[in-house]
């Protein structure tokens, strides 16, 4: 029988499919999700800065909004996203150069533990300062 060359679209959703997969795949997907989240944040950040063009009143109203508990929670999410993506990126750079490859899962767990602790410390600081 003749093989069809393209019977299904390439299934890029596999990037987010961690079912039955191992820790390396979770790290892979986490890096993509956190990366997309940070790109989204960048655009929100630029849109918010645009409020400056609306004059001091618009800016003061916005400042009142971002001091609400909901926005402070979003600050913690942002901090966690930066730490997860940044620390995971350091792991990828090191193992990607062939250093410490057999321990890549240990690297991941240790760095994500560090991200968790630093995010918790950041959350305390954000809500108490």
């Amino acid at each position: 029988m003749q093989a069809e060359k393209s019977t299904r679209p390439r299934q890029v959703w596999q990037w987010a499919d961690v079912r039955r997969r191992k820790l390396g795949m979770w790290a892979y997907t986490l890096n993509r999700v956190s990366g997309l989240g940070l790109v989204l944040y960048l655009f929100i950040h630029l849109a918010v800065l645009r409020l400056l063009a609306g004059g001091p009143a618009a800016w003061d109203n916005f400042l009142a909004l971002v001091r609400s508990p909901l926005f402070l929670v979003l600050d913690v999410v942002l901090l966690a996203g930066l730490l997860i993506h940044g620390l995971n990126g350091i792991r990828l750079t090191i193992t990607g150069l062939g250093i410490g490859v057999p321990a890549h899962k240990t690297w991941f767990l240790a760095l994500m533990a560090a991200a968790l602790i630093l995010s918790a410390a950041g959350a305390i600081a954000i809500f108490t300062m």
């Binding site: 029988m1 003749q2 093989a3 069809e4 060359k5 393209s6 019977t7 299904r8 390439r10 299934q11 890029v12 959703w13 596999q14 990037w15 079912r19 039955r20 997969r21 191992k22 390396g24 795949m25 790290a27 892979y28 990828l92 193992t95 990607g96 150069l97 062939g98 250093i99 490859v101 057999p102 890549h104």
Partner: protein
């Protein structure tokens, strides 16, 4: 003792919509999953397409996705595959063009495998002269495997499991892929020819080479032969970067 095994299998023919069908197959309780797959063909549908050959994990032909994970069904006991489940779920490998049912087109995969220039030789296979290898041709007197350009003993059985498991292969089939890069790594270690080694490293350093890997390490996790393609890719990167750094400082 015979047991009834419920199995849900992927069915497909060109021009038809892919779908699943359910069957019940009777096998001995010490059977492996390949026996159940064969049972679908033998007991239910003679048109059912699947691949198999050696039945002992040396040919890599029968690789499928079993219960959502890449396995060689010839070495998975039915009882293990059914543990905690109502039925077996069997699908073809991902990231290959489909031919029909469980059969995928592996031609492109084998072309990439050949890129390392290594000829696949095993003790049971014929040599270029047509004669089988004598034991002494593969092993030294001390029992160590001889380093020979045509020995491909990095254990890869070309099953394609790593291709199905790799999320980068889901984005592009142009990527050399884990198995071919593991072969290239093996060839760089074996060759004593500097020019050949440089050519192999250039292949690995190309657009679809080692830099397309995004370190999910699913190839290494799923490989039934412990080839560690992910480790091989990272070793190639280290070597490529090392050479470039040396070159930068005028030493290469």
């Amino acid at each position: 003792m015979a047991i009834q095994v419920p199995i849900k299998v992927f069915r497909y023919r060109p021009g038809t919509a892919p779908h699943f069908e359910r069957y019940q197959v009777t096998v001995p309780d010490d059977a492996t999953v390949i026996d159940v797959i064969e049972g679908v063909w033998a007991e239910h549908d003679r048109n059912f397409m699947f691949r198999h050959a050696c039945h002992h994990a040396s040919c890599g032909t029968c690789a499928v996705r079993l219960n959502g994970y890449e396995r060689l069904p010839c070495i998975v006991p039915v009882t293990e595959a059914l543990a905690g489940r109502q039925e077996l779920v069997v699908e073809p490998l991902r990231n290959f063009p489909l031919v029909g049912d469980l059969v995928v087109d592996v031609a492109g995969f084998f072309q990439k495998q050949a890129a390392s220039g290594l000829v696949i030789t095993r003790a049971a296979e014929a040599t270029l002269s047509g004669q089988p290898f004598a034991h002494s041709e593969l092993f030294s007197q001390a029992g160590a495997l001889e380093e020979r350009a045509y020995n491909r003993f990095e254990n890869c059985i070309e099953c394609g499991i790593c291709i199905s498991a790799c999320p980068t292969m889901a984005a592009t089939d142009k990527f050399w892929g884990p198995a071919a890069l593991a072969g290239i790594r093996r060839a760089t270690l074996t060759t004593g020819d500097c020019q050949e080694k440089a050519a192999l490293l250039a292949l690995a350093d190309s657009e679809q080479g080692v830099w397309r890997c995004h370190s999910a390490f699913e190839c290494t996790e799923s490989c039934p032969q412990d080839v560690d393609p992910g480790g091989a890719i990272m070793s190639l990167r280290r070597e490529i970067v090392g050479r470039k750094v040396k070159h930068l400082f005028g030493a290469g």
